[in-house]
């Protein structure tokens, strides 16, 4: 807020007498903030301490090993490759569709009942619990389209998982992109219309370039969300145990079994025994490291290209 009138007046008032209840109140609020942050710091340090032995003993071997029933041989390689393949679906399907939908809502649509209905639907889709998207994927991609998505595995394939995650993040991509488009000042559009550009030319050459950093940040953050999602993948049959699978070709890979980093964490977290506890912690560290990189990229992009009009 900077130094405003309110600060000056408040200081003058505080100077008169010691406001004990005010300080107590402020202390309680600060305590709430510190507890909220402190718990999460505890969480991170706890996980890292538990994970240390795994990384110290096995180093990169943990990153390069497949799933295994034996804790000392199990690694996260299949989880990482699985998660990255799933992200490819999100990037290819959800990003273009989401940005296009946002462009329609912000640039083309007039304020009609239909538009308001579309907006309400999208906002509510973003609030649907992720497990319900898992049910959608199970009913539509795994059961209904099972012959296409995975004829040998009752549709519980990489393709089903990827499509489900793409649908899950679509509303988030639309909402964040629409926000970025809304932040572009109207004067820029009007200037472009004024020199005779059509709507699409205005969007392509003026609105999208200006909104690009915001759209990029939003899409990257929704990618991070998709990367950590577990429940929908469990619903659509990501493998939670070990599996050996080498795909003969790209089609077989898409129709084949898969696992993801968070689903591996889920299955390990429930295993008894200290070895698997350590493995769980180590894979959580890998997951959080990936998410940290993704989030930092988004923040750096936002700070670098942040425009103010």
């Amino acid at each position: 807020m900077g130094v405003t009138t309110s600060d000056v007046v408040a200081q003058a008032l505080h100077g008169r007498r010691f406001d004990a209840r005010g300080y107590l109140f402020e202390g309680l609020l600060l305590l709430a903030l510190l507890v909220a942050l402190g718990v999460l710091v505890t969480l991170l340090t706890d996980v890292v301490i538990r994970a240390m032995p795994v990384f110290a003993d096995r180093g990169t071997d943990f990153l390069a090993s497949n799933m295994s029933a034996r804790a000392e041989r199990a690694g996260v390689l299949q989880g990482i490759t699985g998660s990255l393949s799933l992200m490819a679906f999100v990037v290819v399907l959800a990003f273009p569709t989401g940005v296009a939908a946002a462009v329609y809502l912000e640039e083309y649509a007039r304020d009609t009942p239909l538009t308001r209905f579309l907006n309400t639907v999208i906002r509510n889709l973003a609030g649907v619990p992720s497990i319900v998207y898992g049910l959608l994927g199970l009913a539509v991609f795994a059961v209904l389209l099972g012959d296409l998505t995975g004829p040998d595995r009752a549709g519980r394939s990489l393709m089903t998982g990827g499509l489900t995650l793409a649908i899950l993040v679509l509303p988030i991509v639309i909402i964040t992109s629409a926000e970025a488009l809304r932040a572009v000042p109207n004067t820029i559009r009007e200037a472009a219309f004024g020199v005779g550009a059509t709507r699409w030319e205005v969007i392509r050459s003026h609105v999208l370039p200006y909104a690009a950093p915001g759209i990029l940040t939003g899409t990257i953050l929704s990618l991070a969300r998709a990367f950590g999602e577990t429940a929908p993948l469990i619903m659509v049959g990501a493998v939670t145990g070990g599996f050996a699978f080498t795909a003969a070709g790209p089609v077989e890979a898409l129709q084949g079994p898969y696992t993801a980093l968070p689903t591996m964490i889920f299955s390990w977290a429930r295993q008894p025994g200290a070895d698997f506890r350590a493995n769980t912690a180590a894979s959580i560290v890998v997951l959080l490291a990936v998410l940290l990189i993704v989030n930092l990229t988004a923040i750096i992009l936002r700070n670098r290209y942040d425009r103010r009009w």
């Binding site: 600060l30 969480l43 319900v132």
Partner: protein, 305 residues
């Protein structure tokens, strides 16, 4: 001299405009298709479940789908217990942190802490599930609960859910309070109110719609939260009806994952597979109702300022 015809532009350019516009409309329409698909796919199997079940199976001793006991009160109660514990943890912490950030923190502190809070809101729920099971349950719940407490229990899951939704509530509530115009604060100071009175009796009431919305969104997340409960609350196969948070229990979401991890077997069993969709539909409508209510509150904020 420009003629009117010259202003119409070339037909090719206009055709391209129309084509691109329809493409964008198609993309926007997909979200409506998805909503319809959610409701239809849930409703079909849910109806199958509702038509084929003997109503007595819905009110038994507990939730044991493989024994054809689908006691809905068991899992709804479990869900409400976990969500309530989560809110008891998250509401004071989240709102307190939000008031501090919006009213007391220096602008620099706020600029640093707000993004951190947003990143923390993005921690995957599996991670918190592991934390609830490995740390909260043995170190916090075990000493509090009387007698021997099982490692898997509803209280640990509830606190895990609370930690998960605290940053979310804090972030949304802070936005609402930050949006309160400074003129209101200054008017309050001008009347001689101190900082605490200004925060509590001017800023918080002015932002109350946003604060309530943050709590409702938090509750909705808590009800729909799956992984924390699936990991930390135990009850893999089924659960007896229980109100005791110190014991293992089943929520709607955890019951669904438990069914799905053995979904191949479930396919053969009579009503277990459609029961997934019945719970899913119930969950969908519960969260939808909460989201619609919170949206109404948010719109009130927008209208006023």
């Amino acid at each position: 001299m420009t003629h009117l015809r010259g202003l119409e532009g070339s037909p090719a350019r206009r055709r391209r405009e129309t084509a691109i516009r329809s493409l964008f409309l198609l993309a926007a329409g997909i979200s409506v298709v998805i909503s319809a698909a959610i409701i239809l796919s849930l409703a079909g199997e849910a109806l199958n479940f509702a038509l084929n079940i003997d109503p007595r199976q819905l009110f038994t001793d507990g939730w044991f789908p493989r024994r054809d006991q689908f006691d809905v009160p068991t899992i709804v109660t479990g869900t409400l217990i976990v969500a309530a514990i989560g809110m008891i943890v998250a509401a004071p912490l989240g709102i307190g942190a939000a008031i501090y950030l919006a009213e007391y923190a220096r602008p620099r502190t706020r600029r640093i802490l707000k993004p951190i809070l947003e990143v923390l809101a993005g921690i995957p729920s599996v991670v918190l599930g592991f934390f609830a099971l490995a740390v909260i349950s043995p170190n916090l719940i075990d000493p509090i609960c009387p007698g021997t407490t099982p490692l898997f229990n509803l209280a640990a899951a509830g606190i895990g859910v609370g930690i998960l939704i605290t940053p979310l509530i804090a972030s949304i509530a802070e936005d609402a309070m930050h949006a309160v115009p400074s003129s209101l604060r200054e008017a309050s100071y001008g009347l001689g109110a101190q900082k605490r009175a200004t925060s509590m009796f001017v800023v918080v009431p002015a932002a109350v719609s946003g604060i309530v919305a943050s709590l409702i969104i938090g509750l909705s997340r808590g009800i729909g939260e799956t992984m924390v409960v699936a990991i930390a609350a135990g009850a893999v196969g089924g659960s007896l009806f229980s109100l005791n948070p110190c014991q293992p229990g089943q929520t709607m979401t955890a019951a669904m994952t438990a069914l799905a991890t053995g979904s191949d077997q479930v396919r053969g069993a009579s009503l277990a597979f459609p029961s997934l969709f019945f719970i899913g539909l119930l969950l969908f409508f519960m969260t939808l109702a909460l989201n619609l209510v919170s949206e109404r509150f948010v719109r009130r904020v927008r209208q006023r300022y």
